[in-house]
């Protein structure tokens, strides 16, 4: 607790507070603009933090992350298009409420419960991660290997649609991780003669390219560009928070369930807000006393996804800070942010940079408070920005991508990397492959390999310790269970698809 207060003290400077506020506002805008994701926003702003102190830089990035996760609901309601994948489920009931003329109420509910979800997860983060870090300090190569392997199985949850394609993307990610100096022995491999690749493919330009650079190529290929430029913004009125105390109380159970679910999904490596919001909506419907009303414009359908998506933010920071394994795409970029400042997240972070860790906790809480204030105060302004045409926005984003990738090492090579990954990202989208599994593979591949080889060196070639060390064994068992469950559900799906197609013919 004292540490947390010290954390607050370290961010309560005028400059840091201003940066957090600015980050939240920009985050909300980025999140609200359809086609710009939180991941992209954080990636674009990462270069700005190069010249800042770690506390200032990371506070800004976290503010962007939290603002961005919240901003998606504005366009989900007022444009009826989710601004980010984190708000997909918000449109289910939200768009119906808007049609009924309850846009103000829907916005109020969304913002307030986003705040509650975010705060809940921030508290969970602050309480469980020091504890987890203490356990993680005892982890050796066996544990890390098994956790990385387990995290890889999360690819199944990320590969919406085709499991095979998700796995392929994940394997490509692992392959990307091979490039550069091989662990342990230190010989370069797969560098194709580029000395710039000796240190491996740089994570940051790759991420910027995949998530931001690819956008412009995708947009260029879209048809009916004329129509998409002027989006229809719904008019709305709002009084106070837009809903009554009675309605608030009726949602406490739903909000609590969604917050726990969202935080939990956030903690699982690889899964983030985009999974949390849909899962929470599903759970809310399942446990509701009136499941048939979902989709008809009830606030339960907004409370669940909006609480859960913000709750996933704090959750996603847990594995990042305690193990150095990011919980979702955006925390993958935060990981790059840490590295730029020469800090590697993991259990040692808590002993070596305790002040920084608690400053981050404080920043998460402050950012959530600013989010609710900024969202209510600045709503009308944000809505206006939604109408900036994309043909101006995306080329400017591209210029930012160039600056950002160049700034990593001050060399053009990274800009080319960014461009290459922009093309890869575009092609992946075109052929129906997800980008999230790729990132997960890219980050986890090296962790997997280093720890496998380190472990085998320690055990002098014996695989037994991977199974006999208790924590390692537990994760391996869970891994097997997850894999088996996925295979079963995949087989079922394939069978059902066959029946559907046959059924539709007959």
């Amino acid at each position: 607790m004292e540490m947390l207060l010290a954390g607050f003290a370290s961010i309560f400077t005028v400059k840091t507070i201003m940066y957090i506020l600015g980050g939240v506002v920009i985050g909300i805008i980025v999140g609200a603009i359809p086609g710009m994701t939180v991941t992209m926003g954080v990636a674009l702003f990462l270069p700005i933090t190069f010249g800042m102190s770690p506390i200032l830089g990371l506070s800004l990035l976290i503010a962007l992350y939290i603002g961005g996760t919240s901003g998606g609901l504005i366009s989900a309601l007022l444009l009826k298009i989710p601004g980010t994948p984190a708000s997909i489920a918000t449109t289910f009931d939200g768009s119906v409420m808007v049609e009924k003329g309850e846009a103000g109420k829907a916005l109020g509910v969304g913002i307030v419960f986003s705040f509650i979800g975010g705060l809940f997860s921030a508290i969970v983060l602050a309480f469980i991660s020091p504890f987890l870090a203490k356990i993680a300090l005892k982890f050796g190569p066996y544990e890390y290997f098994s956790i990385a392997l387990f995290s890889l199985t999360m690819i199944a949850g990320l590969s919406s649609g085709s499991l095979v394609k998700g796995l392929i993307a994940g394997m490509f990610g692992i392959t990307m991780g091979f490039v550069g100096t091989a662990p342990i022995t230190g010989f370069p491999r797969f560098t194709f003669g580029f000395y710039e690749l000796d240190a491996g493919i740089n994570l940051l330009p790759a991420l910027i390219g995949l998530f931001a650079g690819a956008q412009i190529l995708e947009y260029a290929g879209e048809k009916n560009k004329d129509n998409s430029n002027k989006a229809q913004v719904v008019d709305y009125k709002i009084k106070g928070f837009g809903f009554s105390m009675k309605e608030f109380i009726s949602q406490i159970g739903n909000a609590f369930r969604s917050a726990v679910l969202g935080t939990g999904i956030g903690i699982l490596p690889g899964l983030g807000a985009s999974v949390a919001n849909i899962a929470a909506y599903g759970a809310a419907q399942k446990y509701s006393k009136y499941p048939e009303k979902f989709g008809t414009g009830i606030i339960d359908g907004i409370v669940a996804p909006e609480t859960a998506n913000n709750a996933s933010t704090g959750g996603a920071l847990v594995p990042l800070l305690t193990l150095g394994i990011p919980g979702d795409n955006t925390t993958a970029i935060l990981l790059a942010g840490f590295m730029i400042h020469g800090i590697s997240p993991g259990p040692l972070l808590f002993t070596n940079h305790g002040d920084l860790v608690y400053a981050i906790f404080a920043a998460v809480i402050v950012a959530n408070i600013f989010m609710i204030i900024a969202a209510f105060a600045g709503m009308r302004g944000f809505v206006r920005i939604l109408t900036v045409p994309k043909y101006i926005l995306l080329p400017v984003v591209m210029a930012f991508c160039v600056i950002g990738s160049f700034g990593v090492n001050n060399r053009m090579f990274d800009v080319w990397t960014m461009l290459a990954f922009g093309v890869i990202g575009y092609l992946m989208g075109k052929f129906g492959f997800g980008k999230a599994p790729l990132i997960l593979g890219f980050i986890l591949g090296p962790i997997l390999e280093v720890n496998l080889r380190r472990g085998l060196m320690q055990s002098q070639g014996s695989y037994a310790p991977f199974l006999t060390e208790p924590i390692s064994a537990i994760f391996l068992v869970i891994t097997v269970i997850v894999v088996v469950m996925n295979v079963i559900s995949e087989v079922k799906k394939a069978r059902k698809r066959k029946e559907d197609i046959i059924g539709s013919v007959v």
Binding site: F50, V396, F431
Partner: protein, 165 residues
């Protein structure tokens, strides 16, 4: 590219990639260590898994195609499938613009290349009716100058300044 065969194409690509990865793994140099697993171990495993996945994808794609064909013969022709994909000149032009942008930046510097790139890119992304050259040119110049000073002066980030710097 037609959408019907995309799984077969991408599956074949994955398979090819896996074969290249596997063969390239043999060229990894390494000191002999006592441990059996070297720097080529995981790449080889990954290559094998990728090959299996690639074949699965081709197989799935073929099966889907067959089912769709069955549907097509029994029902009316699927209109969507029949429609030819728009040849995406805009995407290809954008790609070349980007390559030119990055290639020229080190020589000409950020401000000049960005202004030119933005202007041309605006042009590519707008339809004929939206194109107001003067307005777009002013936006392009303003943005590049503003962004340059914002990053170099306020955020103190290195940007290639080229011949102007």
């Amino acid at each position: 590219m037609d959408i019907k065969h995309r799984d077969i194409y991408s599956g074949s690509f994955v398979l090819l990639f896996a074969v290249i990865l596997f063969t390239a793994s043999f060229r990894i140099q390494e000191l002999m260590t006592e441990v059996k697993i070297g720097a080529d171990f995981l790449p080889k495993i990954t290559a094998v898994i990728l090959a299996i996945l690639g074949v699965t994808l081709i197989f799935q794609g073929k099966k889907d195609l067959k089912m769709k064909k069955n549907l097509d013969t029994q029902k009316t022709q699927n209109v969507l499938d029949d429609k030819k994909e728009n040849k995406d000149y805009a995407t290809i032009i954008t790609l070349f613009l980007l390559i030119g942008y990055v290639a020229l930046m080190e020589i000409l510097g950020f401000i000049i290349t960005t202004t030119v790139y933005l202007f041309l890119q605006f042009f590519v992304l707008t339809s004929r009716t939206q194109r107001k050259p003067l307005k777009l040119a002013i936006i392009a110049i303003l943005i590049s100058v503003l962004v340059f000073y914002l990053f170099t002066v306020v955020f103190k980030i290195m940007i290639p300044s080229g011949i102007l710097g």
